[in-house]
């Protein structure tokens, strides 16, 4: 599909290596985000981010208000968690969460009043330190799926010169349309978030990166960005090729700026920081209202969902309540997936609570998820051809079968793998290549921890 780009929209600086053309299946793109009635009960895990889990700050029987902080920790790599409804704490106990881990969680019985914590006030910010503190207190984690604490991402290492902010609206996973809806519905929040970031950081350029299969989002954002001439043309739109995994951080930095984040390096090492478009828009709202991250948008779709939709849901809502809000199952589900179909987690149970990180809930009927018959590897090399990190999964598979030498696996670049799933996706022999990579990474980690 050839799309004519509006005036001023930039083209990518470099071509991404590898990648796969996954079917987009973004059937919910035109479904406006709908708020749903908060469920009778929410379960709020103390770990909804990459890093250290929070300690619960409440006990059974306590009354909590919406937006009240109910979990925090002194660890740097973390983000506090907040109550998403007002009500009474019913339990503080480990609960099975998305991904299968048991995490201490606070169960709140909703009193239906949705009373907000009076403590939730717009933060007073004088300098970057105040800003980072406010970002931490907001509980913001990367809303694109990985859940990296936003304040930690923005605290650049000593001496790093970060000149480029990339606002990631690629949304390259199939089915997902929450970032797209954010671009269309909350365009001004996105620009507002960028403005506040520009106030406390000296970015030379801010690039909002959207895949070119979302022309409406590009159009809207470009119009707003080019109307804000008070800061020159610092904020620019870039249309990227629609190719999975375009939205992966390293891939994004390379295509947008041409810079490469090498093994073991951070985006700040090449002067970049990448933030999800939803995270940036949330920042603008938080700075205005002081209301922390207690709800988020989620795409609920898939062949077994009766009425696929984009919903605004409170954090801690059980997956089953989201499905009910979409008219329930249209047929018996074969598989439930939280996140995109390429990197998401399959659920054992629809009662699992959804967190800040979760941008999609997908339910599939059996037929389309049929597992490919596993055959012998024919060394066709497609896994290596599509790997965005230039790895050769076929060699990892061969090594894991034979020597299992951690040192060799490390040399092959095991730790560079981001588990995007492109290799497993294309493998004609139906090999579980991503699992091989995870196994290789485990072996290398064992070596590094020695």
């Amino acid at each position: 599909m050839k799309i004519k780009l509006p005036e001023g929209v930039r083209k990518p600086a470099a071509r991404a290596r590898g990648g796969v053309a996954v079917p987009h299946k973004k059937g919910t793109a035109d479904s406006p985000v709908r708020r749903i009635e908060p469920p009778a009960q929410v379960v709020i895990p103390m770990l909804q981010h990459i890093g250290a889990p929070c300690e619960p700050l409440v006990k059974v029987g306590d009354t909590v208000k919406a937006g009240q902080k109910i979990g925090d920790t002194a660890a740097f790599l973390s983000a506090p968690v907040h109550a998403s409804v007002s009500g009474v704490v019913k339990a503080v106990a480990p609960v099975v969460t998305v991904g299968g881990r048991r995490i201490v969680s606070v169960t709140i019985e909703n009193d239906g009043k949705m009373e907000y914590d009076p403590e939730n006030r717009p933060p007073h910010i004088q300098n970057r330190e105040d800003f980072l503190h406010a970002v931490r207190e907001s509980g913001l984690v990367g809303l694109g799926g990985a859940g990296f604490p936003a304040h930690a991402k923005l605290r650049f290492p000593e001496g790093a010169k970060v000149d480029t902010l990339i606002v990631n609206a690629a949304e390259c996973e199939p089915y997902l349309t929450t970032d797209y809806r954010e671009c269309i519905e909350n365009s001004w929040d996105i620009i507002g978030g960028i403005y506040s970031l520009l106030e406390f950081f000296d970015f030379q350029q801010v690039i909002i990166a959207v895949e070119d299969n979302k022309p409406e989002a590009i159009e809207v954002l470009n119009r707003i960005a080019s109307s804000k001439q008070d800061i020159g043309d610092k904020i620019q739109l870039m249309a990227l090729k629609s190719k999975y995994p375009q939205g992966a951080e390293k891939v994004m930095i390379q295509t947008v700026t041409g810079r490469r984040v090498g093994p073991g390096k951070l985006p700040s090492d090449v002067g970049c920081v990448v933030m999800n478009v939803g995270s940036v828009a949330f920042l603008a709202r938080y700075l205005k209202t002081g209301r922390p991250l207690i709800s988020r948008t989620i795409t609920c779709a898939g062949s077994a969902i009766r009425e696929p939709a984009n919903l605004r849901v409170p954090v801690g809502i059980p997956a089953s309540a989201v499905i009910d809000a979409c008219g329930g199952f249209s047929e018996e589900p074969y598989k439930l997936v939280v996140g995109g179909p390429m990197m998401g987690f399959a659920l054992y149970d629809a009662a699992v609570p959804l967190t800040k990180q979760n941008n999609a809930l997908l339910a599939f009927a059996g037929n389309e998820m049929a597992i490919k018959k596993e055959r012998a590897c024919i060394r066709c090399g497609r896994c290596a051809a599509v790997c965005p990190m230039n790895l050769s999964p076929v060699f990892f598979a061969e090594k894991l079968k034979k020597s299992r030498d951690a040192l060799e696996l490390q040399k092959l670049g095991a730790m560079v793998c981001m588990e995007c799933g492109s290799c497993s996706y294309v493998c004609p022999a139906g090999k579980p290549l991503v699992q091989n990579m995870r196994e290789a990474k485990e072996l290398v980690r064992g070596l590094e921890n020695k």
């Binding site: 390379q254 589900p333 012998a376 230039n390 790895l391 670049g413 493998c427």
Partner: protein
């Protein structure tokens, strides 16, 4: 609710399958089959059918004996069967075909673990086994169109045999004119002596283009292989273009470069590895053709490069994204 299926990500997969790839290769081989039937008659088809049937049956029986899963459904034995037949004269005794098929599938493929595990190409090795066992039958080729009765000669030499008689130190053009060589169009359309599937250059190229268009093969190996042979032949003949074209279009070069050197299991994975592999095949083919007393060297060249493949893979493993050499890293610091 029934129990939910839980697997690791990704939860969607492409439609590509091993069987689909093999089917594409089979489709790509059909033009050459049609040409072979036209040129050598129904006997060519019979050789192909016997070869395919023996390969599939051998695969089935070997898997059964080894108490392993039946794999004839992946169609790789069919591909081996067709390729083996393409490397044989159309008038070869059928029991020899069976012998070659058993060697290719039972010994070369299954004894080393089956599909993807063999370290040399089964069809090529099958051909080599037959060549060393029955050299007369393997080098007596029916004359093109002899089956229609339109020619007097029943058998013919391959153009390669004639080419190998040429003294490259002397006047090449004059020697080629006096030698009994087919014309270039005859070469291109395959009306020459040779193995039944290797003669028709145009049919093989159509198959190769199909495989490229379907992204089953990349042009890296065919181009580097054929290009290297072309370059060396040009140098050896002091720039005689006609001699070079005759070398490219006679013998098994096109068949080997497009369909056998590109075998995944026995070739390198990376692009640079593939180019290196192709160049190696090209050099070996040219050296054998020019300096040994064998008229043809494509099979030996590919087999030798098959054996070197693990080494090529090792030295051409791509570096991870953004990797900087340690030396450069130090310089930058």
């Amino acid at each position: 609710m029934k129990k939910l299926m839980v697997t690791a990500s990704p939860h969607v997969k492409s439609g590509d399958t091993v069987t689909g790839i093999m089917l594409d290769v089979i489709i790509a081989l059909i033009p050459a089959l049609i040409a072979a039937i036209r040129i050598f008659g129904p006997r060519a088809l019979l050789v192909v059918v016997v070869s395919v049937a023996s390969c599939v049956l051998t695969e089935y029986i070997s898997r059964k004996i080894m108490k392993r899963e039946n794999t004839i459904g992946d169609l790789s034995a069919v591909v081996t069967g067709i390729l083996l037949a393409y490397n044989l004269p159309a008038n070869i005794p059928l029991w020899m075909v069976v012998f070659g098929a058993v060697a290719a599938i039972a010994v070369v493929k299954q004894m080393f673990g089956g599909l993807g595990q063999n370290f040399v190409n089964p069809a090529i090795t099958g051909r080599i086994v037959l060549l060393v066992s029955f050299s007369t039958a393997m080098t007596t080729f029916p004359a093109p169109l002899a089956w229609t009765g339109s020619t007097d000669a029943l058998t013919t030499a391959t153009p390669l045999a004639a080419l190998s008689q040429i003294d490259l130190g002397g006047d090449i053009a004059a020697q080629m004119a006096s030698a009994s060589l087919p014309t270039l169009p005859q070469l291109f359309f395959g009306f020459i002596g040779g193995s039944l599937g290797e003669v028709c250059t145009v049919a093989l190229l159509i198959g190769g283009l199909y495989l490229w268009a379907r992204r089953v093969i990349s042009p890296a190996i065919p181009l580097s292989f054929i290009g290297t042979v072309a370059l060396i032949m040009l140098i050896a003949s002091k720039g005689n273009l006609t001699f070079m074209l005759y070398e490219l279009m006679s013998g098994g070069l096109i068949l080997g470069a497009v369909f056998m050197a590109t075998d995944y299991a026995t070739g390198p994975v990376s692009r640079s590895g593939k180019i290196l592999f192709g160049i190696g095949c090209g050099i070996l083919t040219a050296v054998i053709r020019l300096f040994s007393n064998l008229p043809e060297g494509v099979s030996y060249a590919i087999m030798i490069m098959n054996i070197v493949t693990p080494l090529i893979d090792k030295i051409t493993t791509p570096k991870p994204f953004g990797y900087v050499k340690e030396k450069k890293q130090k310089e930058a610091a």
